[in-house]
C-alpha cells in the first residue's frame, strides 16, 4: 500500500462528524474469526445521528460481518460496542432492534408469500391479546401500512398485496419502510440498490435522504462507490478485514475517492 493513500485522512483513523452531532454507535477494536479466517482485525467504526456513512469494500472485505455484529446476527470475538455512549452487548436481532438499530438485508429480507403489511410487521405484529395467546390485528396492520406507504410515496396497489408481486424497487421500499416504521435511530442498508431499475434506485435514494433528514443515522453498505457518493456524508473503506480509510465527503471529490479506492484495492 502506498503512503499517499493515507491522505487526506490518516488511514484507519476515526473521523469527527463535528460538534452537535450525537454519536449513536461506536464500535471499537472489533475482531471476528471464522475458524482460521480472521475476518475482522480490530476495526473501529462509528455513526452519528442524521448522517449517512458509506461502508465500502469488495467481497470478503468484512463489511457484512461488521454489520451482522451490529444487527445481532453474529457475535464478535473481541472489541466493544457503545450505543449513545453506553457500552452494550448485542446478542440477538431483537436486542439490536430494541436499541433502535434496524437492518435491511438486500432483497432476501422479504417473505414472498406474505402480504406487504405482514412483511412490514413480521416479528412485531399488531395483536389482540387474549389470556391464551395473541391474535393478529390485520386491520390495524393494513391501516398503518397504508399510511406508511403514503408517507414514503410507495405506490403499491394494496398493503394486502403479496410481496411476491412487488417490483424490485417496491420490495426494497417495503424493507426500508419496515425499518422506518419502528423509528430506527440507526438504519443499516446492505446493498440497497442491487438488482434495481433506474427508477427503483432513485426511489431508494429518496427514502435514504428522507430517513436521514428525520435524524436517522444510516450505514450504507456497498461496493459501488458511484451509487453511494451522492447520498453519503462520510466513507469508510474496509479491505481484508481492516479499515483502510475514513473520509468526509467535503474532504474529497468523487474522482479523488474513486482513485483512492482503486489504489487501496490494488
Amino acid at each position: 500500500m502506498q503512503e499517499d493513500l493515507k491522505a487526506p485522512e490518516e488511514r484507519g483513523k476515526e473521523v469527527s462528524e463535528g460538534a452537535g452531532s450525537e454519536e449513536l454507535v461506536k464500535m471499537e477494536g472489533i475482531h471476528k474469526w471464522f475458524g482460521e479466517v480472521h475476518a475482522l482485525k480490530g476495526v473501529d467504526f462509528s455513526i452519528n445521528r442524521g448522517t449517512t456513512v458509506g461502508l465500502i469494500g469488495d467481497n470478503g472485505a468484512g463489511k457484512s460481518t461488521l454489520i451482522k455484529i451490529l444487527a445481532g446476527l453474529i457475535e464478535r470475538d473481541r472489541g466493544r460496542i457503545y450505543y449513545q455512549g453506553e457500552e452494550v452487548e448485542i446478542e440477538s436481532v431483537r436486542e439490536s432492534q430494541q436499541l433502535g438499530i434496524e437492518t435491511v438485508f438486500q432483497e432476501q429480507a422479504i417473505v414472498d408469500p406474505l402480504s406487504v403489511a405482514r412483511n412490514i410487521f413480521l416479528g412485531r405484529e399488531k395483536v389482540h391479546s387474549f389470556g391464551f395467546g395473541k391474535i393478529m390485528n390485520d386491520r390495524k396492520m393494513l391501516e398503518e401500512t397504508e399510511e406508511l406507504m403514503e408517507d414514503l410515496n410507495l405506490n403499491i396497489a394494496s398493503p394486502d398485496q403479496e410481496a411476491e408481486f412487488c417490483s424490485g424497487g417496491e420490495r426494497q421500499g417495503v424493507a426500508i419502510a419496515r425499518a422506518m416504521f419502528f423509528d430506527a435511530d440507526v438504519l443499516i442498508l446492505d446493498e440497497p440498490m442491487r438488482a434495481l431499475s433506474v427508477s427503483g434506485k432513485e426511489k431508494v435514494e429518496e427514502y435514504i435522504k428522507k430517513a436521514r433528514d428525520q435524524g436517522t443515522g444510516i450505514i450504507y453498505i456497498t461496493h459501488d462507490l458511484h451509487r453511494v457518493y451522492p447520498v453519503a456524508d462520510r466513507f469508510v473503506f474496509l479491505s481484508r478485514g481492516e479499515k483502510e480509510m475514513d473520509i468526509r465527503k467535503e474532504d474529497c471529490s468523487q474522482d479523488e475517492l474513486s482513485k483512492l479506492y482503486r489504489r487501496g484495492e490494488e
Partner: protein, 323 residues
Amino acid sequence: MNTSGKDIALWFIQNFVWLLAGAFFVVFSVTLGRMFFNLNNLHFIFYVSSMVGMLVLAESIALISGNFDLSVAQNAGLTAMLTGVLIVKFNIPGLVAIFLTILIGGILGAFNGYFIGKRGLNPFLVTLSTYLMFDWLTYVIRQTSILDLPGIYMFPGSGKIGGIYAAIFIFLIAAILLFLFLKKATYGNYIYAVGGNPDATVMVGVNAGNVVFWVFVLSGALSGIAGLLYTGYAGAITSTLADGKMFMAFAGAIIGGISLAGGRGTATNAVGGIILIGIIEAGLTMMMIAPQMQGFLKGVLVFVAILINQFRTSFRKRLLMPS
C-alpha cells in the same frame, strides 16, 4: 381482466380442489346412481377420510414450514402401540390415555423437530430415519394386537354423536383450529414466514429453529390423534395400524395445493384434497376396480395434481403480477 373477473378467477384457482371433488362426486353419482349417491355412503367417505385427514393436517403443517415429515403414519402407529401397552400394564383410565396419546405423539414429533429445527439436519434424512425407527419399534414392542381397551379410549374413532361418527367432528374441529391458528395467530404467521423465506425470518428476529421445532411437535400431536382414531376404527391396536398411509398424507396435502416449496397452502384445502381422494377411492371400489389398479390410479391422481398445481401457480402469477 377487470377486478371482479380477476377476483372470480382467483377464487376458482384457490378453491380448485373443492371443484374437482364436486366434479368427481357428480360423475360417480351419475355413473353409480343411488349406490354412491346416498347419505350413508357420504357419511362413510367422511369417516374414513377423517383418519387419514389427521395425517394430512400433520403433513400440511410440516410442508407449509418448508419441511416435510415422512414419519407421520409411523408416529400414529407407534403412539397407539405405546399408549396401548401403557393402558394394559398400568390400567390407565381411557380419558387419561387419550391425553397420553397426544402427548406421546408430540414427544415423537419433538425428536424430529429438535434435529431439524435446532440442529439444522435435513428433514428428509431425519424423518426417513424416524420412519424406520418408529415402524420397527412398533413391532419390537409388541407383535400381537391389543384388544381389551377402555370404551372411552375407543370412542373418538368409533363412537357416534347424533348419529354421526365422532371422528368426523374431531377432524373438522382440528382442521378449523389449524386453519385459524395458521391464518390468525402470530406463531402461525411465523410458520408461513419460515416456509416462505427462512433467512428473512431470522433477519427480522424470529427464532426460525424454534418455530420448526414446534411445527414438528404439533405435527406429531396430530399424528398421535390419527393413531387414536385408527384404533377406534380398527377396534384394536395392531402393529400395522397406519401402514402405508404416509403416501396418502402427502397426496392429500399436495392435491390440496400445499406447496412443497413451503410458505403456501391452507388447512382447509388440504381437507379438500383428502375428501377428493376419499370420493375417488369409494367410487372406484364401488365400480369393482381391482385394488392394484386403484393404487395405480391414485399415483396418476397425484401426478395430475402436481401438473394442475404448476398450472395453477403460473396462472395465479399471471393474474397478480402487475403489468
